[in-house]
Structure formats: C-alpha cells, structure tokens
C-alpha cells in the first residue's frame, strides 16, 4: 500500500490512542498501537526500498488482496509487500540499523498480543509502559525514515 495511505492510518490510530484509557480500554488501546506499529513497519520498509509500495493488501504471508479496475478485488500470490505483522513473513535482504531497531521495538510490542488479548494476562501499568516505550521507539524510526511530506 502507498506510504501516504499508511501515514494516514498511523496519524488517525495515534489520535485514537489518546482517546482511550490504557488500562480501562487496554484491548483497543493496545490494538490501535499494534495496528499503528504494523503500518509504521510497512511504510518504513517501503521508504527504504525493501518492500513494494504496490496497492496490494496483506493477508497471510505470500497472499495479497489486490484491488481491480472494476472496483472489486481478488487474492493474488505476491512477493514481499505489506505484511500483517512484523516477522510474518521475514523480509529478505540486509536490514539497515534503524530497521533492525524498529523490528525489535515492534516485536516487544507484539509480545503482549496473545497473552493480554487472547489469554488471561491482566494488563498492568508496567505492561502499558513497555508498550508505550516500544511504540515511541517505532515512531522515532518512522519519523527519521519516512519523509515529512509523506506523513500527512
């Protein structure tokens, strides 16, 4: 997907986080953070030329949903483009240091996904702080890698 579309989502998702209470609304506060993080990952990889900016939307690794000229869409087998989660799939090639830092931050964020959303781990202020720290690191890399004019 185009960097501008990722940037639009990142902007709105970060605004939404501000309206949610990190503990009372943990599930959606966290999911907004996670979704923003994945968009940051994809936009940053596109900006570095590591993945395609084609308008092809991620599903499972290797399968994308591609809009068609008639307004419809179809599933296609494709190479590296948008991913649905960091590391799913791994991106081939040498990763620059900022991308490696971004990847580590997003993995730290992802660690809380299943335990807190799909199991019985109760969110705590410490978990919220870890998520905040990870997303802040991700945003810092994104702002350094993606030109300002592409961040509406």
């Amino acid at each position: 997907m185009k960097i501008a579309s990722h940037a639009d989502k990142i902007r709105r998702l970060l605004q939404l986080r501000e309206r949610l209470d990190p503990l009372q609304d943990f599930e959606l506060w966290y999911w907004s953070s996670l979704t923003a993080g994945t968009n940051i990952w994809n936009a940053s990889l596109h900006a570095c030329g590591l993945t395609s900016e084609d308008r092809a939307f991620s599903t499972i690794p290797g399968v994308h949903v591609v809009p068609q000229a008639d307004g419809g869409w179809r599933r296609e087998l494709r190479g590296p483009g948008d991913v649905s989660h960091v590391g799913w799939p791994q991106i081939p090639g040498d990763m620059p240091a900022p991308i490696q830092r971004l990847e580590a931050a997003l993995h730290a964020l992802e660690e809380h996904r299943d335990p807190c959303l799909r199991a019985d781990r109760v969110p705590t202020p410490a978990i919220v702080a870890e998520c905040e720290r990870a997303l802040s690191q991700a945003i810092a890399v994104y702002q350094a890698l993606v030109p300002m004019e592409q961040q509406p």
């Binding site: 599930e27 999911w31 979704t35 308008r55 939307f57 991620s58 949903v65 959303l117 019985d120």
Partner: protein, 121 residues
Amino acid sequence: MTPENHRDKARRIEQSLTKLGDADWEIRIEAAMLAGTHWVNFILHRTGLSTPAEDMVHASMTLVSVLRKYRLAEPELIDQLEEIEELRPLFVRGDMDGGVPAAQRALDLLAAMGARARQLG
C-alpha cells in the same frame, strides 16, 4: 480461556467501542473481530463444541475439518465471523473506499453475535 473470561473480554471491548467514532473504522472492524471471536469461543465452549484449550483465533486459520464441525452447530455465527474477517484486508490493512459503512456492518455483525451469546448467559 474459560467461557467467563471470553465473555468478560468481549464485554470490555464492546464497552471501549463506545469511545470510537466513524473516523476509527479500522479499529471498529478489529474490535468486531476481537470481541466476535471471544463470543464465538464463549458459545462453542458453553455448548460443548470446543474446550477452553481449543480456542479459535481466526476462522480463516482454523483447521477446515474443525471449522466444518463448528459450522454445523452454529452456521450463522461462523458466517458472521468470516464476514468480519473478510473486511480486514480491504479496510484495515487496505485503503479501499467505504471504510465507514464497512465498520458499521462489522458492528452490526458483532451485535448479532453478542445477542446469540447472551442467550447462553
């Protein structure tokens, strides 16, 4: 997870949804997926179709033969979850036009799933 924990998670997500607006279509759809999946697990556990050790994460990631079993028991429920999941690549991970009505459709589907679950307590 126990049925009660699924129910509590679904209710928390539904409560948080009241803070979202039309411009938050991605997370409305994701919330419908998350809460809807908790309601599916609640119903499947309560009706004995699955155990707390057999939680579904996504219909699209469930073994075909297992999903077939669940569909025999709860055909509308499984159709509703699948329809929500189909919205995700288009409007959450994609930038297709129509995110606002798509999110409303997801919320309507979630409401129907929640209504089915509440019949079971």
